[in-house]
Structures are given as C-alpha cells and as structure tokens.
C-alpha cells in the first residue's frame, strides 16, 4: 500500500519539539538534520519501501481557468496564514501501522540542541488503481 507523507512549512499543528527555524540552529545541527533525512530515504530504498520524494519551494500560486481565449487566472503569492506544503515522500509499505511508524521516525529528525523536532507530518493513503479480484 502506498502512502503520501506531507511535510508542511505552515499549517501543521505546533511541533512537539523545539520550533526555532533552521537559521537559528548551529551549522552542525543543520548538517545533522540534512544527513538524517538523507539516511532515512537511503534506508527506505534499501528496504524496498521508497517510491519517490521531492522538496517544494515556498513560492507558487493558486491558478484556475477563466474561459476559452482568456489566460488562466493566478492568485498569489500565498498569504502568510495559509497552509503551505514543503515537500512530499511516497512510500510503499505493508500496512498503515508501518506507514505511521516510518512517519514517526522521519518526524524525529534532530534539530536545535540535537533534540528531535517531532514535527507533524500528514500521512495519506494513496488510492490504488486496480480493483479487487473479489469485486
């Protein structure tokens, strides 16, 4: 089963760990954090559970069509109060429990003072394409 793990720049519940932005960590803490993320992805590749991941820039806009012959309408940049996704990872795992376990690990990346940040990640099951044989 595939699950989408979403990390938010904004809009997630307050993290349980220290919430200082990365600029206020020491360079070593920044490095340790980045390394933890890399190791996590590498380990999931090893176990055959990694599907893909991408980081997203904070900028962007809402876009919608506005009728034939007219250019699409954009609404942006995003308001400071708005929920904002920072990146995603798709994993392919045996169960919801395993997805939760892995999201918990990813959320425990080290931050300021080498303490886990315990940031909230959104975990969403991906709908499968194939209908069940027992329809």
């Amino acid at each position: 089963m595939k699950y989408l793990l979403l990390k938010h720049y904004r809009g997630a519940p307050t993290p349980a760990g220290a919430a200082e932005t990365m600029e206020h960590w020491t360079p070593a803490e920044v490095d340790a954090h980045i390394q933890y993320m890399r190791d996590f992805a590498a380990r999931l590749k090893e176990t055959g559970e990694f599907v893909g991941s991408q980081a997203l820039a904070p900028k962007g806009a809402w876009v919608r069509g506005d009728g034939e012959g007219r250019p699409a309408v954009t609404d942006g940049p995003f308001a400071e109060t708005k929920d904002l996704i920072a990146g995603w990872m798709i994993i392919d795992v045996e169960s919801w429990d395993r997805a939760v376990e892995l999201a918990g690990e990813l959320s425990s990346a080290p931050g300021a003072g080498s303490k886990p940040i315990y940031e909230w990640l959104e975990v969403r099951p991906v709908l499968t394409e194939t209908p069940k044989a027992t329809e």
């Binding site: 932005t21 990365m22 600029e23 206020h24 960590w25 020491t26 360079p27 803490e29 920044v30 490095d31 980045i34 390394q35 890399r38 980081a55 820039a57 904070p58 900028k59």
Partner: protein, 381 residues
Amino acid sequence: MNEPQVRELVPSVIAVLVRRGADFPSAEDAVQEALIRALETWPRNPPLDPKGWLIAAAWRKFLDATRADISRKRRELAAAIEAPPAPQPETDDSLWLYFLCANPMLPQDAAVALTLRAIGGLTTKQIAQAHLVPEATMAQRITRAKRRLAGQPLDQPGDVATVLRILYLVFNEGYSGDVDLASEAIRLCRQLVTLTDDPEAAGLLSLMLLHHARRASRTGSGSRLIPLAQQDRSRWDTTLISEGVAVLQKALARDRLGEYQAQAAIAALHADAQTAADTDWVQIVEWYDELLQLTDNPVVRLNRAVAVAEAQGPRAGFDALTGLDPEVPRYAAVAAYLHERAGDLPRAVELYGAASRMATSVPERDHLTREAARVQQLLRS
C-alpha cells in the same frame, strides 16, 4: 568495443541512412533501435565491423518500418529502395545533425533530448532516467520534436550559438542516474570543435573543462555544496585545467571574443590561483566587464558584484548591485554575502534565510540555510 565507443558511431550512422534517402525521423528511430540491439548483443557477440553492423541493422529496421507503413510512405519507400546504396564517403560530417537537433523551433528540453539521442547516442531510457521523467514521456517528447522538424532542410548551415546553448544546458544538468551528462556534453563539444571553426565552440569546451576540473572538490559528504573559496584545490584535476587553458588560449588568439570565451577566461583565472587568497580579482572584474558588454544579464551582474567586492571592498560590491531586481534568483544570497563582508551580521543572517527560501535546488537551499546558521553562530559568540 565499450558503450561510449558504440555511442560515438550513432551520428555518422544516421548520416549514412539519410544520405541513402531515408528521412531524418525514420533514420533516427531506426538507428536507435539498432543501437539498443547492439548494446544487448555485442557484449556476447562483438562484430568485426561495428559501424558496418550498425548501418546494416539500422537500414534493415528502416526498411521494415517503412514497409509496415507502406500506404502512407509508398513514394518515399520507392525512392529509398530504388536508390542503390551509394559508396559512402568516409568523411564524417555530422555538423548538420547538430544544427537540426538544436533548431530554435524546438522547445529547449526537446532539443536537449534529441541532441542526446541522435548525436550522443544515448537510449531513450537513459535520457529519461537522467531527467527523472518516465521513459514513455521522453519517447513522446523526442517524437514530437522530430515531427516539428519535418520539412526542415538538412544541409543548411545553422547558428552555432544555438548548438552551444543546448550543449551548455546539457552540461549544467550534471548527473543523475547512470549517465553523466556533464561528461557527455564535453564529449559532444569536443566533436563540435572539430567540425566548426567558431572560437565560441572552443570557448565553451574550455569553460566546461575548467568547470569539470573542480567537480570532485565541489561537493562534500552528503552532497553538501562547497563554495569555491573553501574547495580543496589539491583535488582539482590539473590535466583538465591545462587542457582547458590551452583550448582557451588558442580561441582567444583568434580575436573574436564571445561570452563563452569570457566566462572561460574567468574560470581560468580561478583555476590559476594556488589559494583563494591568490585570486586575481582585479583581472576577473575586467573579464566580467567584457562579459557585460557581450551579454548584459542579471546573472552576470550578480557574479560581477561579488568579484567587485573582492577586488574593491563590499561598498563597491553594493554599488555594483544597483539597478538589479532583488527578486532575481541568487540576489538575496549575494546581498547576504556582501552584508557579511561589510560586518552587518544580523542583516546577513536574515538575507541568507530569505535566500534559502528562494533557492531553486535542494543543495543550494541547504547550503544557504547552513550559511545563515554559520553567521548566526558568529553573532552568538
């Protein structure tokens, strides 16, 4: 014969098929199929005459495909089959292929893909992997590109500058997957230099060589980016540097300066410095001034501002930023650096943070975040 050697045959085999009367899109498809077959079978069963094998296999694929499509292509088939394969001249003039693949009618990503397949001899799968897109998407991109080229004359000289732009793009894509696009771009540019006497082709080759020479020192553990000033210069590839400098000197002697030669000259000055402190910033600024004359764009102005700050101090660097739009990529990063040099650390932290949020790649974002943290630490201590 290893894979790169096989790939080198591809453009000349396409040229042979086209000279025999095949249309370019079909010829290119046929050679791609023959190439895939070659990569599968040659390791076990190497041919005596690799090029002859590829020509024969590709010609057969072309005829098969044309026959299968007979109702639409009846007349082309007749023409192609009736013409007895003329004795092929051994001169390998595939310059027209470069122009065709880099045709300005094509979107740049399509021109890149077509260049890599028809001239680089890469398979669709390899090109797709290198660009992190599904193979079917890449196949379609290439097919559509060739459709757009329908009816384009093959023998017309094009603009070398468009070819150089495409090769420069390929070079900057670096490497992901099993294909090293930077090395591939260098190989193609080397070939191009033998086909054209435009000194800018040599300028681009020199720029690529000098840049590539620093590759090992440019990233540290965990893909972290190491800025030029902190690179371990003992890890720079001196063979590539000597070659890059020699190619550049020959090009500059032609006295037809262009933007790639000017950029290569700047890269050569960096390569020439034993330590970061030995860098001849005054001369680098002069080359940036030349470069601005040739191509006035924000990236050049930003890089020039850094060089000016090194040569004349941060105040002069700020002056050099005047008139630039703060929204251009890397503006905040350069401004952060100048503020740090000027001793305004709080502002530098803020700007490095802002720059990291504007970064266009993960390594760049991580680097700028680390820079913010580094200056923040200076502030605390």
